[in-house]
């Protein structure tokens, strides 16, 4: 049998030691009325070769994004991942280890995750980061729950969130009695600061917003964090961590908790998972944080050593009073981000973020030149922005026939935006790719 090493002789000897005559006797506590009659109705097991053949065939029914000239982002980005990232992650020392509960034989995992925490703190300017959560959506939900614990308040203001993050937040809050209210956008697509200011009071736990927001726009965060502070409202910001190579650290701007999806930091597309969720906060909120945290300490000889720490926040110690139910997280992906950031360094990150920015700006400028295209918002974006065309869905389909994925169609999530497309342009795009898109778009529209 696959992956079973006991021989029939081993089994015979072991059963004898146990004092039973058959394996069946070991199952005698299970009432016969609930025993399966016959075997599971599954196919016969396959050889490794057959499994490979069958699943490779399934993989070939997919068309990877890079076969297209693609401008699709919307929360998941096909950045270049240096080969060294996957090479290190494939090492069975990280891949096949469990949670580092036993510090002395897990120093490698622990130190790597401590580095991850340090990198995230560096990018966000925060004092503390946990060891990762599942994804950006659940990280946002956990950040909001955290703000409710910190403030003891009942109301949440939001703006500019990814629609799936919004839905996830609703689910996470559905068993608890809280009120979520959306702050409207102003005519330029940014947070309407007047309404925000009017909505703030001592019932509001947090203002949870995204910057860049779902439509790609980068908010003037500093312009409203002092309002938040004056009302005791926590600023919770969803950030694209790669954009933080270019933009000021959220902590510097007066934010209390940063969360987001770590996929842009060396993660593959993976059909949307796994990547990882990041969560970092000001030091005073440390004991309200969910999830694992790694600390640096000493061994008994006084040498530096690492271990899981502040576990009294967690479910295996605190049970129903824990800060979250999270147990398994996405450590391997977080370690992948640490490797990515190490490889890229300051120069690489500057180069990637500027390339994304420049390519997206170039695409924006070229789109402006196309007759029939309207661009609703300005140029304050990082790597994606919204544009508008009559019969957007059909234009996208025609471009697809020319091997171009124009972006993310907004009409499904936002019925009022049925002619809008969110296009993303990252470092892997070349000028030729963008020019080709514009040329084909002009042809689709005007023949």
């Amino acid at each position: 049998m696959p992956y079973i090493l006991n021989t029939s002789k081993d089994i015979e000897q072991m059963l004898k030691v146990i004092g039973v005559s058959s394996v069946e006797e070991l199952y005698r506590d299970i009432p016969s009325s609930i025993r399966l009659k016959g075997s599971l109705s599954l196919r016969e097991g396959l050889s490794e070769f057959e499994v490979k053949k069958e699943i490779e065939a399934l993989s070939r029914k997919n068309t990877p994004l890079n076969r297209f000239n693609s401008f699709l982002g919307a929360g998941c980005y096909d950045h270049y991942v240096p080969a060294a990232v996957d090479a290190i992650l494939a090492s069975s020392s990280f891949l096949t280890a469990y949670t580092p509960y036993q510090a002395e034989c897990s120093q490698g995992s622990l130190e790597a995750i401590y580095e991850y925490q340090s990198f995230i703190c560096g990018l966000t300017g925060m004092d503390v980061s946990n060891a990762s959560l599942f994804d950006g959506a659940s990280a946002l939900a956990e950040a909001v729950l955290m703000s409710l614990r910190v403030t003891g308040r009942k109301k949440i203001l939001i703006h500019g969130l990814h629609p799936q993050y919004r839905k996830t937040l609703d689910t996470y809050l559905s068993g608890l009695e809280f009120l979520v209210e959306e702050v409207p956008s102003d005519k330029d697509g940014f947070i309407d600061k007047k309404t925000l200011k009017e909505s703030l009071n001592d019932e509001v736990a947090c203002f949870a917003f995204a910057s860049p927001n779902f439509f790609g726009l980068v908010e003037d965060v500093q312009s409203f964090t002092s309002y938040l502070k004056s009302k005791g409202v926590l600023g919770v910001m969803v950030a694209n961590p790669l954009s933080l190579a270019m933009f000021n650290a959220p902590a510097v701007l007066g934010i209390d908790i940063v969360c987001g999806d770590g996929q842009p930091l060396g993660g593959r597309l993976n059909f949307g998972g796994p990547a990882f969720g990041l969560l970092a906060a000001k030091g005073q909120y440390l004991r309200h944080m969910p999830g694992r945290i790694i600390g640096k300490t000493q061994d008994k000889d006084g040498n530096p050593a690492y271990c899981l720490t502040l576990q009294t926040r967690e479910q295996h110690i605190r049970r129903q009073k824990a800060t979250s139910n999270i147990c398994s997280n996405h450590s391997l992906n977080a370690i992948g981000a640490a490797i990515y950031l190490s490889l890229m360094g300051k120069k690489g990150l500057e180069s990637v973020s500027l390339s994304c920015f420049n390519n997206a700006q170039y695409l924006y400028q070229r789109l402006e030149e196309v007759r029939g295209i309207k661009i609703p918002y300005g140029r304050r974006f990082f790597n994606e922005f919204v544009w508008e065309v009559e019969e957007a869905a059909s234009v996208m389909e025609k471009l697809r026939n020319k091997n171009i994925i124009a972006g993310y169609y907004l009409g499904n999530d936002f019925p009022e935006f049925k002619n809008r497309i969110l296009s993303c342009c990252i470092e892997t795009k070349s000028k030729e790719d963008i020019d080709n898109f514009i040329q084909e778009l002009a042809e689709v529209l005007h023949g």
Binding site: M1, I11, V51, I88, S93, G272, T297, K300, I326
Partner: protein, 486 residues
């Protein structure tokens, strides 16, 4: 408005070897963003690729892993992670597809998800499965959210969840996250749920009982049908924490035991690697009556094609973005295809044989908390050794010197000095005999030279780690002066 100049390779600031110059005109971000928006300094240092590789190679040597060490960590099911599954998960046709691509481009992925939903239904007897939850705990959150909404839709206000005192910590934590009060039911002298106490606790406010079966003592809750009858008679539901499902593959199904909602830890029972603590996957299945409450989307098949269905009438919504941990799901599906019905049954049986073999061999020296036939794991108590001065922790640390990852310690909470041992089916008698020999040796050391055990480990990159100090003086990142790696 922007000062634009023609790009050439030299003008891309300090590009590294990974990025090619795109050739578009360069814009100074300062022309677009007002003062205060832009970062002045990225606090990450530059290293060469070889330096990075050497650094992580060094770290990887300081780790125990399943591929290198026997890893009998109770309740974690550290079975072998077949290499073919890694190869398959990393195919470009899987890791290079975007979640928002047109469904015509991702039919292979959808077919795989559909097939996995179907085989998990067959294995558990549930009607419908969602593959969205990222972990066991998120599976629990999904399941308990479904239970809450189900009662809401039926118009009954239920406020309590019952969990046994031997339950995983995630169970009560999940109940709280979903807004329920947790009620704990005690175990009886046989390590099983005390039926009389359960009956006293059950009232119309109880939304569900959360159980793992076999329980965390490794014992099968043989009164499961009575438990099911009791909770259902009060209008409540029965939740199956599938963390311990491994020994029951092909033996029974949660549906036959009366469970309404089931989560499976695909990183335990279905062999996907644990990755230093994740990513895993916590697939969630339900009976027919709850099928409309699952998170969206689920994958359905129509004619010969597959698509995402968002139309479930009472769906609880989403628990995360996109469709779950897809590349983990690829591995689990490959594993099930490889084993088939017979392979899964043999896996279950061997996990039970291995655990019982350890139980019988070790009970001569170590107390077995509940000395009965067990399923996939056995909980030892180091109470005798503790009286001689060596705790479960000391024994665990000494095992590290012998190249064995320690069992789960001090859990379940109802056993003093607990050592929870789960060998899994992929280990053989030879490995188990070696483990037994070492456990005997450690017991001898406690009698003859206890400091060897008390001061362990001796052979690791660090000596015993001061965890109290870590909590008292939290050092959670590089200091400001040293915000770069050595």
């Amino acid at each position: 408005m922007a000062e634009e100049k023609k790009n050439n390779a030299k003008e891309i600031p300090d590009k590294t070897g990974y990025i090619i110059a795109a050739g578009v005109p360069l814009i100074n971000p300062g022309n677009i963003f007002p003062e205060g928006f832009l970062r002045k300094e990225i606090p990450i240092s530059d290293s060469g690729e070889l330096e990075v590789i050497r650094h992580y190679s060094r770290l990887s040597k300081n780790n125990f892993s399943l591929d290198a060490n026997f890893y009998p960590l109770g309740s974690c099911t550290m079975k072998y992670n077949p290499k073919i599954n890694e190869y398959l998960a990393n195919l470009e046709g899987f890791c290079g597809i975007h979640p928002c691509q047109d469904q015509r481009d991702t039919q292979g992925a959808l077919e795989l998800l559909y097939n996995l939903q179907q085989v998990l239904c067959e294995i558990t007897g549930m009607k419908r499965f969602s593959l969205e939850p990222s972990s066991g705990a998120q599976g629990e959150f999904t399941g308990i959210s479904i239970i809450r909404k189900y009662h809401q839709v039926k118009g009954s206000k239920k406020t309590k969840i019952i969990v046994p005192d031997s339950a995983h910590g995630t169970n009560p934590a999940t109940a709280s996250m979903c807004g329920f009060e947790t009620i704990t039911v005690e175990s009886d002298s046989r390590g099983l749920i005390d039926i009389n106490k359960l009956e006293q606790l059950l009232d119309d406010d109880v939304a569900a009982v959360m159980l793992t079966n076999p329980n965390t003592l490794g014992l099968f809750e043989k009164n499961i049908l009575e438990i099911s009858r009791l909770i259902h008679s009060k209008g409540g539901l029965l939740y199956y924490d599938g963390a311990n499902f491994n020994p029951l593959l092909g033996i029974t199904k949660p549906s036959l035991m009366g469970f309404d909602v089931v989560h499976l830890n695909l990183h335990k029972t279905f062999s996907t690697p644990h990755g230093t603590g994740g990513p895993g996957a916590g697939a969630l299945g339900v009976v027919e009556e709850l099928a409309d409450f699952l998170p969206v989307p689920i994958v359905v098949k129509k004619d010969q094609s597959f698509y995402f269905d968002y139309s479930l009438k009472h769906s609880i919504g989403r628990v995360r973005s996109f469709y779950g941990n897809f590349s983990v799901l690829v591995r689990a599906y490959a594993y099930i295809l490889r084993l088939g019905a017979q392979g899964l049954l043999r896996a279950a049986q061997n996990s039970v044989i291995n655990a019982n073999y350890l139980r019988v061999k070790l009970q001569l020296l170590y107390e077995v908390a509940y000395p009965f036939i067990c399923m996939h794991e056995v909980v030892l108590s180091a109470q005798r050794q503790k009286e001689k001065g060596a705790s479960a922790l000391d024994i665990s640390k000494r095992l590290i010197d012998y190249g064995i990852h320690p069992p789960t310690m001090y859990f379940p909470l109802i056993v003093k000095e607990a050592l929870m041992v789960e060998p899994t089916e992929t280990e053989n008698k030879k490995t188990l005999d070696n483990f037994i020999r070492i456990m005997v040796e450690i017991n001898n050391e406690i009698d003859t030279d206890i400091s060897k055990v008390k001061d362990a480990p001796h052979r690791t990159s660090v000596k015993r780690v001061d965890e109290v100090r870590a909590a008292r003086f939290p050092d959670l990142k590089w200091s400001a002066e040293k915000s770069s790696k050595q």
